[in-house]
């Protein structure tokens, strides 16, 4: 009998190593919470800028190209800044988790994960930049959500499975948003802000939470 339990252990080891060597499993829940909080902050600033723009518009009563270009550029820089701050923080939280587990941030698993994330995400970035460049702003928010969702879905094969579901949610939000372009900022805040925070908390609960005193993992 003892021998057979050994075989079961061996199979468990094999499964574990196959998973760990192909999937990057050290994504931290805090990364999600951080990215979400930054996105919500960014959305609030964008909302204020839009409010100000429309108030000025109403006071003047006519369209002013310079004001519009300013608004467009400010929103674009804001978006890029939010992305960089969110990504940097998310990276640092995950790095901290990797260090704690004595792992390596640059493994074949993490490379595979990043490659699969970067290619659809980069495509999306080019498309969104082209929208902004062509002054076609109504599809910026849905395109961000759609491409980000596809990137997560794709990269989800090489990390915690939960990421795939988050990807699907982002795609659905983006798809709905396509038909309500005027509400883009709200969908954007929901997808990048709210969903990241919710997912961060779920993942923290599932994978990061220190073992509780009752002993249940």
């Amino acid at each position: 009998m003892k021998e057979q339990y050994q075989e079961l252990e061996a199979l468990k080891d094999i499964r574990n190593i196959m998973e760990r060597s192909t999937r990057f499993l050290s994504l931290s829940g805090w990364s999600g919470v951080w990215a979400g909080a930054v996105a919500l902050g960014g959305s609030a600033i964008a909302w204020l800028q839009l409010e100000r723009y429309y108030n000025q518009y109403n006071e003047r009563g006519n369209f002013d190209t310079e004001h519009y270009i300013n608004l467009r550029n400010n929103l674009f820089y804001l978006g890029v800044t939010v992305f960089i701050i969110a990504l940097t923080g998310a990276f640092l939280f995950t790095l901290r988790k990797v260090r704690k587990q004595n792992g390596s941030i640059w493994s074949s698993a993490s490379r595979r994960f990043l490659n699969n994330l970067a290619i659809p995400l980069g495509t999306g970035a080019i498309m969104v930049s082209a929208f902004v460049y062509n002054n076609d702003l109504q599809y910026v928010a849905p395109a961000c959500l759609l491409f980000y969702g596809l990137s997560l879905y794709n990269a989800g094969k090489f990390t915690l499975n939960d990421i795939r579901y988050l990807g699907i949610i982002e795609v659905i939000l983006g798809a709905i948003c396509l038909f309500f372009p005027g509400l883009g900022l709200y969908f954007w805040a929901a997808g990048f802000g709210l969903m990241h925070i919710v997912y961060g908390i779920i993942m923290w609960n599932k994978y990061d939470r220190p073992l509780s005193k009752t002993g249940t993992a």
Binding site: E3, E7, I14, I17, M18, S21, N102, G103, S104
Partner: protein, 99 residues
Amino acid sequence: MRKEIEQLNKIFDSRIRIGIMSALMVNESMNFNELKALVDATDGNLATHLKTLEDNTFIKVEKGFIGRKTNTTYAITKAGEKAFRSHLDALEKIIRNLG
């Protein structure tokens, strides 16, 4: 049951060797340090096990360079893949007989 236990490959008796083979089954190639982190072995220990697997032509070794540093990568061979698969099949049969 005896028959299945005999089908288990003696070379895959060691946890570390099983670890190496599992990792190389799902990765095209891996270097020494990646394997070390994965199977949690000391340098000497890992090197010995890698040598055994290499001598049995279950894995192939490629010595390369990244800049001036040597970078040795390991990949599974056809024979290694076949041997490991039948080892897994035997394990599966034994466990099935448990229930």
